[in-house]
Assembly symmetry: D2
Homo-oligomer: 147 residues x 4
Amino acid sequence: MSNLLSIDEIQERISASPFNRWLDLRISLVAVERIVLRCNMKPELVGSPTTQAVHGGVLAALVDCSASFAVISRTGQSVATIDQRVDYHRPGIARELVAEATVLRLGRRLATIDTHICDEAGTLIASGRTLMMQVPHKSKDGDVETS
Amino acid sequence: MSNLLSIDEIQERISASPFNRWLDLRISLVAVERIVLRCNMKPELVGSPTTQAVHGGVLAALVDCSASFAVISRTGQSVATIDQRVDYHRPGIARELVAEATVLRLGRRLATIDTHICDEAGTLIASGRTLMMQVPHKSKDGDVETS
Amino acid sequence: MSNLLSIDEIQERISASPFNRWLDLRISLVAVERIVLRCNMKPELVGSPTTQAVHGGVLAALVDCSASFAVISRTGQSVATIDQRVDYHRPGIARELVAEATVLRLGRRLATIDTHICDEAGTLIASGRTLMMQVPHKSKDGDVETS
Amino acid sequence: MSNLLSIDEIQERISASPFNRWLDLRISLVAVERIVLRCNMKPELVGSPTTQAVHGGVLAALVDCSASFAVISRTGQSVATIDQRVDYHRPGIARELVAEATVLRLGRRLATIDTHICDEAGTLIASGRTLMMQVPHKSKDGDVETS
């Protein structure tokens, strides 16, 4: 099974979401069953003023977006997030956050996706599991509904 | 058991986090075992360009922050997020997001917190469960480490 | 909104499942949006030989079954478990386990249910959240497919 | 890093738990960072009377036990389950259930473990993520406290 969308088409759809654009999320790899998404650290993303670690909500947003596009790159359809678990393994102190999302199961309606988020050196910071529902009717301008 | 921190002290600690400040999170109630946190919708928080629904990562950030301060308001100590589940019940189309966090169990080291997020009319949009670890040594300037 | 099934009809459907019957699960309350399920402790359910605490898998089975019948009692339809989170708050040392399941959201296809499991004195032992899918075609003999 | 316990020592500790013994759980592989646990299907494990699929609680028990021993085989210490997510991907219709547990992160106190459960043909039935706490003081007869 191959990917239906090119890396440029996926980047365009990611950036159509204002919050993704504010985070400046960039797709850097699209392969069968997995994608890689990158996000540079910036001051507004800090959660803890002392440690300068990234906010947990930003890591959750990366899990959500990477999981969505791991499915969308395969199907071309829109998706909606049903539920999500995120495990925070280490304080997120990084210059760049690299999220790799792998489709564990792609059913007719539901998809389950695993995401690992590492810092620029490859150290695991957080990981997540997302359940998504595929939305069969592609909306008129091809956008994505994440949750 | 009473709350150790006043609503003003909690607001100060929330706003010490750059990402919370960017989201403009405001605490509006502090009671025993629960708090209420509010966030006005703004264009940068949109996840879906067609529906204008809030991004799932923003809802996850609200779950994270409300859970943290439900514990902190009781103990005064810092916390770290260990893991979190978020369920997305309806598209987050709202002018204001209202997160109510309730401490289900406060142990010696671990705390479990339930959060419900509604729109301004009280309709449930998302809900979450967060496991936090209490960090016994209060850091020198009283900040909070969320995840 | 009222319940479609009586307590006797629900007990019959619970006991149609061999594993539920081996656990000897008994329904003791059916109300709108919540049910109560009970399970007596017995030696084969012990997980830890030193503490004599119940096995975590037994508590997960109680979460699953109580969540299923909280929905089934409302709709009469069959359900399938999609995913589940269980939090273990205290060692499960009890003579009787009492599971109360509350429907948080009942959608057209999906349902989200919260379960709290206490010992006979009302102390919280574990809690869970379950996502279920309603299976529209009632199977020929009215059974339930839990996961 | 190597495993501290042999396969026979692990089997002995698994079978010291009455519920594990009733399930007849058998360890079939112990490698660095992962273990494989097997369980034959038997009539009492059926959840659904029509499909004959295994009960979701049995799959959750396999996730719990495999996660515990993936950690115990490395450390020799006891563990307690803090929380667990299980995703049910397909009806569990199998002659044998094969659970493979991999340690994603082993911290000083907490461990995160992924488990995949397949049927005898290798088809994925369910998967889980477990957070465990290591219990530093080994209890007097070396048993395991799984939640």
